[in-house]
Symmetry: D2
Subunit: 387 residues, 4 copies
């Protein structure tokens, strides 16, 4: 079995998720397509990098990202930094001929994303963007059903990603609120997942029209390193939030379907309410991540009087599940989607084939984000092709 040597940049929430996936893929998939070997971890301070290396079982660590990219052993650069660093690292990695695995959203703008996609294409490296929610076995089932025509012609898509992790006005300012680092707010952070779902399940967007708002305009500064669970300082100093707390937008798909996407980071009570519904002429399906093992499906081809939404529990009949467990209902977790994502990436690397979603797809998502932002700014419908 081939070994893929990995350099991981960023040791936060997502870095941890990736590192665990590298550990698990060879246990879950037997045999794995390639053996993922975490050779080096990079982060902004020695403390973080050292701790990451220890916790994630990496051979070494460095401060910063350049040495990771330059490390001759590294086959695959894994980018889990804040969004503003994606571009620079990816361009350097492509230049160095390294394959690239990058968290979403791919870049701060569609333009940047396109540059990254083109650089990777020129370099001939394999790329993947971490839209892990589409790797859920029931998301793959949804895709399979739509492709097989089980829902008929697609009429509507509605998707949302609502969270309340930042609904507390005392949740401190972090990089997520900083336009230069994060780009847009709820749209890039949360909405990008839903855009990917809409594209994955329904297809290309024709035009969009959005409405964004920042409800909590000032945030206290964080005491210490900022993150989801950090606390505000007691001194009362604040900083102005630079991007939107919520986004709602209308969609016309190229294929004729219509839809909406919403995302809010201040939707009190919602935790990871990453949800989608697709209505077709012959059937519908809906899903919410908070019940990630369930796909709800309605088929109007069922007999009269026996029709209803059916809760399909992820099970061994669905993509990848059997590698995890022999019976349905046991419960996959969030991490398991990352494991499937990494499996697919390793498989692509082992076979020297494209992975999905790659940088081209990552760019397409950024393009939609830009179109939505422009529509908000100018208060009008924007065609995605304008971007």
């Amino acid at each position: 079995m081939e070994t893929i040597n990995i350099g991981l940049i960023g040791t936060g929430f997502m870095g941890k998720g990736h590192a665990m996936a590298y550990q698990m893929v060879p246990k879950i998939f037997s045999p794995a397509p390639a053996f993922p070997n975490l050779v080096v971890v990079g982060d902004v301070t020695e403390d973080l990098a050292r701790k990451g290396a220890r916790d994630f079982g990496a051979e070494g660590w460095v401060v910063g990202w350049e040495q990771v990219v330059d490390d001759e052993r590294v086959d695959l650069v894994d980018i889990t930094t804040p969004n503003n660093l994606h571009k620079e690292i990816a361009l350097a990695s492509a230049k160095a001929g390294k394959h690239i695995y990058c968290e979403k959203p791919l870049a701060l703008t569609g333009k940047d994303a396109k540059e990254m996609y083109e650089a990777a294409a020129r370099a001939g490296v394999i790329t993947m963007v971490g839209f892990n929610f589409i790797k859920n076995p029931v998301a793959l089932l949804a895709k399979e059903m739509i492709e097989a025509g089980e829902l008929g012609e697609i009429y509507h898509f509605r998707g949302s990603f609502h969270q309340d992790v930042l609904a507390d006005p005392n949740a401190p300012f972090s990089w997520r609120f900083d336009r230069l680092i994060a780009g847009s707010g709820a749209l890039a952070d949360l909405g990008s997942h839903v855009i990917e779902f809409a594209r994955f399940l329904v297809g290309d967007f024709e035009r969009v029209c959005g409405l964004a708002k920042t409800f909590i305009e000032e945030r206290p500064l964080a005491a210490g390193v900022s993150g989801y669970r950090s606390k505000a300082t007691s001194e009362g100093s604040t900083r102005t939030v630079e991007n939107e707390d919520s986004i709602h937008f209308l969609i016309e798909f190229k294929g004729g379907a219509t839809g909406t996407i919403e995302a809010s980071r201040i939707a009190t009570g919602r935790k990871v309410f990453m949800a989608y519904e697709v209505n077709g002429s012959k059937g519908s399906l809906h899903f919410v991540h908070e019940r990630m093992n369930e796909l709800n499906v309605y088929l109007s081809t069922d007999p009269t009087g026996r029709q209803g939404f059916k809760t399909i529990l992820a099970g061994p009949e669905h993509p990848y599940y059997e590698s995890f467990w022999p019976v349905a209902g046991i419960g996959l977790g969030y991490e398991d989607m990352k494991i499937i994502e990494v499996y697919e990436l390793l498989d692509a690397l082992a076979n020297n084939e494209p992975a999905y979603p790659d940088f081209k797809e990552g760019w397409k998502v950024c393009q939609v984000i830009d179109a939505v932002l422009l529509s908000v700014e100018e208060g009008r419908w924007v065609s995605v092709e304008e971007i």
Copy 2:
């Protein structure tokens, strides 16, 4: 107890709902504020009118509506006809000094609705529009909670009304598809309920931007009288659908909240998916009519580690419920909302006070509908005040 003599125009689905409510109010509410006495029923044919009078326990019947309005005994004219007749009947009723109970949407256009509202106001008659969904005890609970500040500042509203009763392309053409009779499609028929909910719970709209589409462009003609359950003729002749199958629109509320409303009459699998969610700074609530006895409420003021959406079952602590049953969970039905609506109307009539929602409110809803239609037509945001 005062008797209110009623003339009912229209004997279809809604006429029946009203007639049953007249029967039930004095049984449910003890004593009722006034005794509703159905004196005459009018419909377009003798057969329909006669059958209506018999089934609904009315004293008499007439063909057409004019004699109902002119009937000297009649105190209250009850209009359950197709939408295009609302205006003419209401204006005649106001002129005749009759109180008016009219099904939604109040009129085909905001302009017509305003004319009706002004005529009724000038005549000093009491009016009510049949937005019965807001009479659900748990809707009244939602209102009560929001008004009491239990949810804090309101951030988002999202509402929908999805049905599939017309999703079958073989469901025949009926008045609902005819722009001259019905006005708009999913927006007026279904969306109007949600607009009323948004106004009831959150308040006035500032501006809207919508997207409408007709997916099934031709419908077969009906064999016989058309209705929800009618069948197509076998001859294959069709008629072009004149209004939208679906609508999605963005909302900016005057009070600062943002939101979306969607309605579709072709959302396969959804039956009476009349749903709303309200997110506030301190709590959220959500509801779907298919589980009409449940209000789901999240309060961030609950203790840490004990927070979650709570399913409150309608019970005797909530508005009106105790008049029906002594314990929670027994199950109110659709009809019970109509009974509460009629109770409130009788109460207003007995006390010579305004009812809610009255023609002014009915007009405001039509104004929003017009703004949405204009935004669709011109592909832009429209301020409600433009209408």
Copy 3:
């Protein structure tokens, strides 16, 4: 159309439910099989009887029940009194040649119930027992599916009726706690409904073994008339509860299935948690009354990877629903089951045919109750045939 003249005894919660059903049947079913005419109402005090007659629209009222039975106009005696009076009234009614509609449980003991059944049979009168939950269109659907073999061989039944209306130790003593009036507690009051469901869906019981317990042994006396919503006196006097707060029992069915039934009147949080689940070799179904418009069905005959519990919403394809509303999901309420029950009773009376469930079935349920009570008393399995 034939008129059935009715004498109603008892004007409480259930009396009201029956009276409303008499009003509604001719509105819902067009035409009704017979016209129900409430001629007289009886209750224990003049106030109650008078109020009942007024609220229910009866022609007259009497104090007590004897005059109702003796009233020559009365065709059908309707018994909604506390359980201990059922027998005496039913025997007198049978003797007087009157048809009988009696609330559940039919009697305090299987012996009494059998005497009632035999008297009615001898008199040739038509009888019905008010197990209205089985008249829910989705219960009739469940029955239809089981009879058609859609679930295959039946393996398990599990049923429950949990309430918390009496969970508060300060809920005062009422007739429900008095063994001489109510008979057993949770078993007769709540469990009887579930026993009927088990018999309706699965069939005859072979043997049972139960466990009963009274958790709240003393209750305060009521201030004024006792009922679900009455308050305790302030003086602190109490009375000892004479029957069980909860019952759990095992069942072996004659047909080979196994199961459990539970009922508790102190199950905090449960309101009308009248639930059943049936597992068969080819499918399963489950239901809970708190969502009374939904039947959940799993069919292992669905395609691999497309199996799941399906929520079937009551709709026009299911028994009786179309008489109420033209589309699914509108929401039937509790009262609508009583309306169907009364419809079936009127239909039986009009056609001079047996109704279901009749006194024979009511007796069978009482027989099971007695078997469970004996099993509790003697701490052993009891065959139903021992009773």
Copy 4:
């Protein structure tokens, strides 16, 4: 950090679950209480053992279990074999002074389990039994709430474990159907988890009365190695099933509560329906593993009109969750419970303190199983102390 050297016996479904947990604990918990080092894997054939070692990342492998126990490096013997081997291996391990981690049920009989518990106690080794479901953060939350008195006095427990993985009569005979290897059927395999829950949440059992049945009496032989997903041979030879497909039993707890437990391996449509409900004087809670991230809680101490079952999503406020993820609703999976279990075991080993549930608790569960089996055999109530 101390290293714990582990010898794992059995490489099936459960062996894999344990092996993954060893990998993950040091990634999830930072720092872990001790470092789990899988030194050797044993299974019945060279192929299985070799594959296990490779997939699980173990240093070595052996055929059989004796060499694992005897391996001087091994600190902890991990037993994931069929049930009949637990005793022999555990006794040998205790004799060798090795700590023991054993899958549930601990033994085929209470007598054997007691012998194992006593041997381990005498040897002074630390033990743990793999009832991983109680390690779910929301199960620990349930425990915490009950212990803090949030539910008041406990009235009822009802638990179930329904599966349909063996509902297909063509699912071949495996060790699970063999009384000598598995002991009882649904009771030991599935019910044991629920018994542990009942003991964990409510306490000791006083007496039980059960009903068991084998519905599918003959099973085809398996083609090849038998397991959950194995297929029947085509030749038509069968073997008689030796233990029960389903069990239902009544419980009287020592503390006064009453309850039921049910388990069935042929409950069509149920996948991992491991469910419990606890009703107390002040509140109730219920859970089902198929939605393993949710605990439903009702508190009658909530304000009037604001009471309802609340769905608490597992989050960082609950035990252990924050080690996994920073926000609620992300989704723990089955494996994560095993990770917590192993964490607790390592913590106990590092601190030389007892783990929970240990062999004493494992024995208590077996004692209940024996009492239920005796009650079935003799058709009577059996006190647990008889065993």
